[in-house]
């Protein structure tokens, strides 16, 4: 097997959004893709993963990260490939039902 440099992937920073911000009124953010973990350790594990980490762009809390719309279609696939088995909830489908 030929040895070579391992493939690099975009790794993540996913900063935690500030605890306080100036807003004139509450803002509604719709059609977001969120990744929610049961604990902060699992979130760190996801962020450190070369395939999944780059998809997580910002964090609302220690355990909730936001994924951009253009990366959403591949999120589930990469999570499965990384060995995770996420519960998938689609608010749009639930509302349609």
């Amino acid at each position: 097997m030929k040895k070579g440099k391992p493939a690099t992937a975009v790794t993540a920073s996913a900063p935690l959004l500030p605890a306080e911000i100036e807003l004139t009124a509450p803002m509604l953010h719709a059609n977001l893709t969120l990744v929610e973990t049961a604990d902060a350790d699992l979130m760190e594990e996801l962020l450190a993963d070369l395939r999944v980490g780059p998809l997580l762009v910002a964090r609302l809390s220690e355990c909730v990260a936001v994924v951009p719309a253009d990366k959403s279609p591949e999120l589930h696939r990469w999570l499965l490939k990384a060995g995770h088995t996420p519960r998938v909830l689609d608010e749009k489908q639930r509302n349609d039902q």
Partner: protein, 790 residues
């Protein structure tokens, strides 16, 4: 290829039954009198057209008249209505009913010539149409197959003009004269459990698929078919000219479920989906002899699939969705199985084929029908010769075509659907089975329907017991061995959902439980606890501890990670503001972090309860919210910040003094590169977000900082000597001069040439020698003359 011709389903025909009374006015008086005779007997010929119409309208609404009708029916009509009653609905496909009627009442030979007139197999059906007992569902009045025009606008179905079910009794027709066979060898039968496994497997796979897409032309979309095949693990039926179809095949089961009304095709939305009016699981739970009737009827009506295409027969599944002659011969064959003299005896397939040939063969064919030709003035010898030729051709056609099809029907779908058993004759040289007899399910579905009510009584024992019984063993290596004879369809369906089938045969099926299969089962609605309980309850032994522990782990793992698509989050300024809203109970949701709230309510409900500053929709392209300057400074425009922009910038820029100000620097780009970003990634990400064009200078800077060697490429600040000339011609001349050229670097303008730095003196001397006055002042262009004013 033109679009498929689509016909309504029988359900749709039944919902839009034509009103016979409305059509009476356009029918001729002779025909009306014939119809009226059915109701009032010979007195009908005394009626004029108007009276006949009134008599018919009155009779159709009069229950007493309908009861008395039974006395005026012919045997053909009685049997025709009985066949409709057996179907349980007031409509029937023409191809099926027509063939069945001729099978029960063969068209007799001409009394003078002795041979059967070349009428079509619709003859008996047309008699019922003429007598006004049936009506065409296409709202036309002429007989079926009577005109060129009606062939191309072929009618699919006929309907009863009134509800005759109450006056028609189900009685067994006369049995066929078939010899029984007493000795057989190598008898084979198929267990219903094998068929149930395939039916359940198909139902589960389709359920997981959700829906099957159709193309604009109404054909199956290849990607959908490929997905369904992958879920099933069956190979797709290959293109075959005259070879028999292999079973199981996806196309067969798809058409079977469609014909059984368990699936529904919607050609306007281009999808096949489960029919919400029928529950597939409940159907599969029924005792197999009851199910067998459904599958037998569905097999009779299925289209776009055939057992084989014999030589001389045609089949165009991609042109029309209507019933074909293949449905007719299926109907005749299934009916004949209900007319066997002894349902438990063995018979030769060839004998049944011969009997069918004698009854329907002269009027029905899968291909071209032989016909008798003799000129009007032919001598008796010529006529006899023509008759012999016709008979020979007729027998040969049947043997090559219909008989071949009948054999394949027995060895293919009839055996596959557990309706018949097969065997060989002793001393037969061929290995191919040539004998058949009805199976238990076949008797219930095809023979007993003439003799018993459709629903079983309390004493009937189902072939497969429904409900929970132990029928599998779970092994420590995560394999599950299922005993098919003991498993109910519900248990089979459960196993199909949670495991991956490795292999199966007549008695057992082996599944493997994997993380993926358990995950997809959980995703598709099976709760973790229910999964373990059902697995335990069906197991003949306790679950191996390792398996139980691992399954629990897999279930728990799924609970640790959730992905939400299309979620709605409300952002507040701080913790206190969010909590105040929660305490007031204005909005319900899950608190996230310090100042976010995940809500389930729709946007309209939220805006009614809470005054919002705005809505940001992440489904579409991210909104432009950045101003990017040449020097790498990035400003997030006030009021346009969304949840992602800071995270995106932090990947390749440094924060400034204010959260809204960032800077792209050599250091930040190199840090992004070390994390795997390319220069193109950074530029693309910025391009998506800027409100103006990204400065080209910064683009080159990013590329250069990243380490790109080709862009911006090398640059230079140098002071090479410049030779200027007054005109372009002079510059041309100098360049073209062979002994001057070696001193020159490059021409940079029409009148400007760069000189090699160490050639200044030599070139100056040379040009001076040849009269070119060489100065040291820069030659500036002449100022334009001043404009003349009036």
């Amino acid at each position: 290829m033109s679009r498929l011709t689509v016909y309504p389903t029988l359900d749709e025909y039944e919902r839009q039954l034509p009103d016979f009374a409305d059509r009476l006015a356009i029918i001729s008086s002779d025909k009306l009198k014939k119809m009226a005779r059915v109701w009032v007997g010979k007195d009908a010929y005394k009626l004029n057209k108007e009276s006949a119409i009134q008599t018919l309208k009155r009779s159709l609404r009069d229950p007493k008249a309908i009861r008395q009708l039974a006395e005026n029916l012919t045997a053909v009509e009685r049997d025709g209505l009985m066949l409709m009653k057996l179907r349980g609905r007031r409509v029937a496909y023409i191809e099926e009913l027509a063939a069945e009627l001729v099978m029960l009442h063969p068209i007799p030979p001409h009394p003078k010539t002795g041979y059967r007139a070349p009428v079509s197999h619709y003859e008996r059906l047309n008699e019922m149409l003429e007598r006004g007992l049936l009506i065409r569902c296409d709202r036309r009045n002429e007989g079926i197959g009577n005109s060129y025009y009606s062939y191309y606008n072929s009618c699919e179905a006929v309907a009863m003009v009134a509800d005759f079910f109450q006056i028609i009794k189900i009685t067994p027709p006369s049995a066929l004269r078939l010899s029984t066979i007493t000795e057989t060898v190598a008898a084979v039968s198929r267990r219903p459990s094998e068929l149930l496994l395939e039916l359940t497997s198909f139902a589960q796979a389709f359920d997981r698929l959700g829906s099957l897409s159709l193309t604009a032309k109404g054909l199956y979309a290849n990607p959908s078919i490929a997905k369904l095949n992958k879920l099933l693990g069956w190979s797709r039926a290959e293109e075959r000219d005259h070879q028999p179809a292999k079973l199981p095949s996806l196309e067969f089961y798809l058409q079977l479920f469609l014909a059984a009304n368990l699936l529904k095709a919607n050609y306007s939305s281009r999808a096949i989906t489960a029919n919400p009016e029928h529950d597939i699981s409940s159907v599969l739970e029924e005792p197999f002899p009851i199910q067998a009737r459904l599958w037998a009827q569905a097999y009779r009506s299925l289209n776009r699939w055939v057992e084989c295409i014999p030589h001389g027969a045609s089949f165009y599944p991609n042109e029309s969705l209507g019933r074909t002659k293949f449905n007719g011969i299926r109907a005749a064959l299934l009916l004949s199985l209900g007319l066997l003299p002894d349902p438990a005896a063995w018979y030769r397939i060839a004998d049944l084929s011969e009997l069918m040939r004698d009854r329907i063969g002269r009027h029905f064919a899968l291909g071209y029908k032989a016909s008798y030709h003799a000129s009007w003035n032919a001598t008796p010898e010529k006529q006899a010769e023509a008759l012999v030729k016709y008979e020979t051709e007729f027998l040969a056609n049947w043997q090559q075509r219909e008989h071949v099809w009948i054999e394949q029907a027995f060895r293919g779908p009839l055996f596959h659907l557990c309706l018949v058993e097969l065997a060989q004759e002793p001393k037969s040289k061929s290995q191919t089975p040539t004998l058949f007899r009805l199976s238990e399910a076949g008797r219930a579905a095809l023979y007993d329907i003439f003799r018993q009510p459709a629903k079983p009584d309390g004493n009937a024992t189902p072939t497969i017991q429904s409900g929970r019984q132990t029928c599998w063993i779970v092994q420590p290596n995560f394999e599950v061995i299922v005993y098919l004879d003991q498993a109910s369809p519900r248990q089979l369906g459960f196993m199909e959902r949670i495991g991956t089938r490795q292999k199966s045969d007549a008695t057992i099926a082996v599944y493997r439980l994997t993380r993926e299969s358990i995950y997809f089962a959980l995703e598709n609605g099976i709760a973790g606890e229910q999964l373990l309980q059902t697995l335990e309850s069906g197991s003949q032994h306790s679950l191996p501890p390792g398996v139980e522990r691992t399954l629990s782990d897999w279930t728990a793992r799924r609970d640790r990670l959730t992905v939400r698509f299309n979620a709605r989050v409300i952002e507040f300024s701080n913790f206190a503001e969010r909590d105040a809203i929660i305490k007031k109970n204005k909005i319900k949701g899950i608190a996230i972090g310090e100042r976010f709230l995940l809500v389930e309510e729709k946007e309209q409900a939220i805006t009614r309860s809470l005054h919002l500053g705005g809505t940001i929709n992440y489904q579409s392209q991210p909104r432009g919210s950045l101003v990017v300057n040449d020097d790498g400074t990035v400003l997030i425009m006030p009021g346009l910040q969304d949840l992602l922009v800071i995270g995106e910038l932090s990947a390749f820029a440094e924060p400034g003094s204010d959260i809204a100000i960032w800077r792209i620097t050599r250091k930040s780009v190199q840090a992004a590169r070390d994390r795997g970003w390319t220069a193109e990634d950074i530029i693309n990400r910025l391009n998506r977000r800027t409100t103006t064009l990204l400065p080209s200078f910064l683009k080159f800077a990013i590329k250069a900082w990243w380490g790109n060697k080709t862009a911006p490429g090398p640059t230079s600040i140098a002071t090479p000597p410049l030779l200027q000339t007054s005109t372009a011609e002079v510059a041309d001349a100098i360049i073209e001069c062979s002994f001057v050229n070696p001193y020159l670097l490059a021409r940079i303008g029409t009148c400007a040439i760069l000189i090699k730095p160490d050639s200044v003196k030599a070139l100056g001397k040379l040009l001076d020698e040849y009269g070119f006055a060489v100065g040291k002042e820069v030659l500036l262009p002449a100022a334009p003359p001043p404009e003349k004013t009036k």
